[in-house]
């Protein structure tokens, strides 16, 4: 494969760092705020029969984690192709 230029490398890495940061912020909010500190307030609302705070800690956060990792894998793998990074597996 052809070597990436320095500029390409930097923009590839910047993209990765940005994506990682966004995912971690969501992870933090979902776990420690929705499922933790704000759960009591959220429990005032009901979602398909569940108190919302309980729902976020028991179900919602888990589903969001799964989606986050899927999004990460999909976007980064697509980015690899865009930059012509192909592994000789």
């Amino acid at each position: 494969m052809s070597e990436l230029t320095q500029a390409q490398k930097e923009s590839y890495w910047r993209y990765n760092v940005k994506l990682t940061t966004i995912l971690l912020v969501i992870w933090f909010v979902v776990t420690y705020l929705f499922g933790g500190l704000w759960a009591e307030a959220l429990n005032e609302y009901t979602f398909i029969g569940f108190p919302l705070g309980y729902y976020m800690a028991a179900q919602g956060s888990l589903a969001i984690f799964v989606i986050e990792i899927a999004v990460y894998a999909k976007l980064m793998n697509a980015k690899d192709l865009e930059y012509g990074i192909r592994e000789e597996g």
Binding site: K9, A39, E40, P51, A57, L62, F65, A70, M76
Partner: protein, 634 residues
Amino acid sequence: MNLNKIFGLYTVGFIAVTILIGIAEAVFGLSNRVIGWIFMGLSMGIYLLIGIVTRTSDADQYYVAGRGVPAVYNGMATGSDWMSAASFISMAGALSAQGFSGLAYVMGWTGGYLLLAVFLGPYLRQFGKYTIPDFLGERYGGHTPRIIGVVAAILASFTYLIAQVTGVGLIVSRFIGLDFNVGVFVGLIGVLFCSVLGGMRAVTWTQVAQYIILILSYLVPVVVLSFKLFAIPVPELTYGRLLQSNNVKAFQITADPQEKATRAKWAEEAKALGEKMKDPAASEADKDKAKAAKALADKQATAPAVEGAKLEKYLQTPKGVGMWNFLALTFCLMVGTAGLPHILTRYYTTPSVREARTSVGWSLFFIFLLYFTAPAYASFARDAVFTRLVGSKISELPAWVTLWAPAGLFSVVDKLGDGVVQFADFVVRSTDFVVLATPEIAGLPFVITGLVMAGGLAAALSTADGLLLTIANAISHDLYYNVINPKASLIKRLTITKVLLIGTALVSAWVATARLAIIVEMVAWAFSLGAASFFPALVMGIWWKRANYYGAVAGMLVGLGTTLFYMVGSRFFGLSWWGTNTVASGVFGIPLGFLTIWIVSSLTRAPSQEMQDFVVSIRYPKTGGASVAINEGH
């Protein structure tokens, strides 16, 4: 050979056999014991067979399954590697007892995979080594980081292994009636056969087979129960209604005069036991007994709700220091998930970085299926207690109660002597009944209970497999081959690994037969230990090219040291920093580890330019696991 076809046929075959056994149960009246034996024999037979078919003595195959495990299958293998006897049998029960606070385990044991996905998995794969201490040794140079890695890996894995072996013994003795100690050794044969013959390769494919049994057996009972109660076979959607009806019932129980009278009786008993504990004439053993009995009586005397509140205690979020502990525990479990070597090594086995990324996603999806369902289990079991047991006559208890009472998991005592079961009459000794008794609560035949046994066994064995391999490889590959004798031939290394596997297994079985009560706590510790020792050094090693040998050594020692200090101090000597619970000990060691690596690395000489360039280069996936030989001099 086509993997999808093989595992598809295997799954269909397993379901067909289960149905056949079910028919045999209905037609010939197969006894419960016989069904237990069939399930154990069948599943163990499959694992042994896989061990024989996939035996190998090739180093790449033995250590990292030839780096040829596709993402989906690596995901399943990681799933069963990850989900232990505790996840399968005990977690739902713990949730039923702890309510909201218990959700720390559900979030912690899943959310950690995001950290793994974005910080470690793909980069470790690009680095392309064999073990986690290997990474530390290569990245930071010198033997010390590697040796600290070996010690931490053994420390975190061994206690965890003992818990799995104990789990095997319990399952076998509960279902087949074998002696606990015999059960432990029967289980070991299953584990050793695979790992000794085929290393990581055999363990991987066995874990895939174990995952399929594990997840089927976990989902079937609660799906059927959900369908029976709500005509919707998705318990994760329907249990919200149970949360509401249980909530109403909890307030009724709190206000009911008969319940109040029962609780008063327990409170009296607790008071009397409290006096006994203070009695100077009583022996230490008697005092301990009184203490345990008092704890139980106190629990029975507690109402499930506070009158006037909107939500029962089960749904209420922890407050104050409770909330701090909830968040701290969640954090430790998450970071620990991304710091336990037996999970991390699984991402060395995929063919490429791309597959490693996808594979973390599949891993979490397969794990999610179980963890997403566990809180539903807890609610269905509570509903069974609230609506079917409470209020029934002592002389006509529900079938599941009479069936499981002899196992000693719970008992029903008529405290008031009125012949009716009050909620406070239901004495739970082990919340494991939640998963074990659900098939009967759902009115399913015993064959499904047998299936659950096979699932629990699969969960314990698969985790034991991964842990055993991690310990043996840490000693043979990292300590012996890399440090003591780098000239050792492959045959010699593999032989040593095999001897270590057998030795470690025997030692863990021997420790398990001692039945130490502290084992359960030690499992929670393993997460804090893994989190504080590995996570900072791994993340900094990948993300910060300036991190060096001195920083890593100091950081690992500080992380591990602080965590051990707080664990032992808080558990045995009354040490308390902001009231932090001993299971969340890592919450101090993790940030201190990061900080130490940063400060010490900044103050000392930078790593070689070669190493820095190399650290930058693993950001861009290139080749399928080329090994890079860059060593720093010291």
